[in-house]
Symmetry: C2
Subunit: 109 residues, 2 copies
DNA sequence: TCTACGTTTCAACAATCATTGAAACAATGG
DNA sequence: CCATTGTTTCAATGATTGTTGAAACGTAGA
């Protein structure tokens, strides 16, 4: 992952509704959620959700597939883990002051 | 760290110049860098840098102290590690598919 | 094929954000 | 106290982003 894409991903997560979409999709697991379900869950209009989904998709944080009439969105695990890795390595330089607590916490999560 | 603050931090990192400021400050270490030095390094005007620094400071990612005529900025390690922890735990639910690679990578960073 | 459903596209608008230059402020040295 | 250096504040502007409603598209069932 390069800086350009990392910044795009951060920008994508830096908006309340989009952040909630990602969390909902991670929680939903690989099966994902239909756009309509997401819209209800997050509390935004279908139109507006589409806008945010496109943003997240472009940032590589989610993916979609069609299933009958519905379009199912799911979290892009690789994109998310790449982002965390990039944040720890390239941005925070692997500094223990920054990274150690996160690693420690995640160990007994 | 709550969702509100995490989203603010992501938004702060989701802008090229601000992202570079954070990286420069992490690289600089606890001693930090004067605002003027940062402005030169990042390649933005002093005025514009102030705007971004305020944003980052408000997001809890950097801090400042006065030293003579200069104002020295430095990375807020705790804010950064809180963000990583939040991203792994609250957003990504500690899912191994997402978090394990990051932890593994950081181990031999 | 017609209709209904789920989703996206489009055009418009309001709101927020990034950038600029001029002016003000704070600290230091003469 | 004055001049200089480093930084911030302020007001203005252009650019980007978030939101909306109407219309279009794709799929499935009657």
């Amino acid at each position: 992952m390069d800086e350009r894409q990392a910044v795009m991903a951060f920008a994508a997560l830096g908006q309340e509704n989009r952040f909630r979409v990602v969390r909902a999709l991670v929680t939903a697991g690989p099966d994902g959620l239909a756009a309509g379900t997401l819209a209800t869950e997050i509390g935004v209009s279908a139109t507006n959700l589409t806008f945010h989904l496109k943003e997240l998709s472009h940032a590589g944080l989610i993916q979609s597939r069609r299933e009958g009439k519905s379009i199912i969105y799911s979290a892009a695990y690789e994109g998310l883990s790449d982002l965390i890795t990039f944040l720890m390595r390239d941005c925070c330089q692997g500094r223990p002051e920054v990274c150690a607590p996160a690693v420690r916490d995640s160990a007994h999560a």
